[in-house]
């Protein structure tokens, strides 16, 4: 079995159970073994994310009021919801958003390791762009939640915010390096881990905001 054939097996049949041919190839090919371990690790991490929890009603009220105040949203009365609106509401739940980040990371990992990289800078799609988008959306949601949350230990909130800032700085640093040296696998690994940590941190902050209401 060749590396390309193994990728097709992963895409079509999943990571387990693996055929004897695939297992044989993994035992002989370090690159595929490394790739397989990475994806398996990400999937395992994703399965550990908290179950979907609906935020309290007051959070939505607060967000709605803030959007209305900034003239970004006008309430529609007695209007049937489109399928897209229903889907959008579903996606707003943080559990699903967190799972989405994990899913994006899996896709990003596929993209990052699938094609052989050349040591020169090349114009290609950023495999992490979807992940970044979802994380930014989560961060935006968190800002709105803070408007609704007034209680809690400031020391804990401060610590969480400071750590989020450190994660953002680290991500910016790694992203800059990856743009300069696209073939730096070590930096890519750190960047992937940083995205995961940011997703977990945002999830913890949202849970904390929700539990205080």
């Amino acid at each position: 079995m060749l590396c390309g054939e193994l990728e097709v097996v992963f895409e079509q049949e999943g990571l387990t159970p693996l055929s004897p041919e695939a297992r044989q190839h993994l035992s002989e090919c370090n690159a595929c073994k490394h790739y397989f371990d990475d994806v398996t690790g990400i999937v395992a991490l994703a399965s550990g994310f908290p179950a979907e929890v609906e935020p309290p009603e007051r959070v939505w009220i607060s967000i709605r009021e803030e959007l209305q105040r900034e003239n970004l949203f006008r309430p529609k009365h007695r209007e049937a919801k489109s399928w897209w609106q229903s889907f959008e509401e579903l996606f707003w739940t943080r559990g699903l958003a967190t799972a989405a980040v994990a899913g994006m990371l899996v896709i990003a990992a596929f993209s990052a390791f699938q094609e052989p990289r050349t040591p020169v800078l090349e114009a290609r799609d950023d495999p992490f762009s979807s992940t970044v988008k979802v994380l930014n959306q989560q961060e935006h949601d968190l800002d709105n939640m803070r408007l609704a949350s007034t209680t809690g230990d400031p020391a804990v909130d401060t610590s969480l915010r400071q750590n989020l800032q450190q994660v953002d700085e680290f991500i910016a640093d790694c992203e800059h390096r990856v743009k300069e040296v696209p073939s730096d696998d070590l930096t890519r690994e750190y960047l992937t881990n940083a995205y995961q940590q940011k997703a977990e941190l945002l999830s913890a902050m949202m849970d904390r905001g929700g539990s205080l209401n």
Binding site: A155, Q162, N163, Q166, F170, S183, L186, A194, A204
Partner: protein, 295 residues
Amino acid sequence: MNLSTVLTGRNILPVLAAGFFLMPCTPADAAPQRLEKHFAVKGRPVVVIRNIGNGRIEVKSWKNSEVVVTGTKASDKIAVDTEQAGDRIDVTSSVVDSSANPAEMQANFQLIVPEETELQLKTQTGLIYVEQVTGDMTLDSVAGDVHLNEVSGYIIVTTTGGSLVCSQCAGRLEFSSISGNAQVLQPALNNVKLRTMTGNILFDGDFVRTGLYSMRSGKGLVEVRFSGSDSFDLNAQTATGTVDNQAAEYLKPDSHGARHLASKFSKSLFGTVGAGFAKVELSSYSGTIRILKRD
């Protein structure tokens, strides 16, 4: 002089003044309250503490088949519930009044458990301290530190900003943090996985034969101090940081003939100390990796 005489005229002022100064400064429900519970157990108990408020959790062991939970809570605005189901003991603190300020949300716990006990402890800002307990443990904290002394088992520590100090620990250790430091001192651990984004890592102790040790910090210092009798293969890599090898005389080329392909985009150091029985992987994105022999 009767009471009506005291409470009239100029005599009333000193009485009121005295009463004012004797008046308690905090409401009655803000006074610290103590609790103590005893739970008889048969086998190896599982103790779960979820401290939603803030506070310290201290766990020590004894030879009795009994779990003793003592604690203090700062006010009635926080509730502490305990539950026993067989050998599982749950202790949960929760905020019952959302107007509670941080000082009123504090709950501290001291536990005495059998030597072989599994622990799942979670708090926000207080210290988690565990001493002389054998068993798997999962310890979570946001900003509080975690201190472990003479514990063994499969130990998983997760913090956001809190640091870990693990002295004379044995078994398997996993630590994950964003800005917390990790210090592992005089361990007998055969599997170690330490991850921090901006914190520092210090491993000062022996590497067990056939042990696996992986330590990585994004921006911090990763320092390993080994002894002359240690035996391990070393793989150290950093993307933009530095590798400070202060043990060049002990570090020989890999004796197992394994090929190490160093990336041209990172700084790497490969080698073997002794016969290379254990495996040590050190990594940093932009920090320093330091390897030195203990005096």
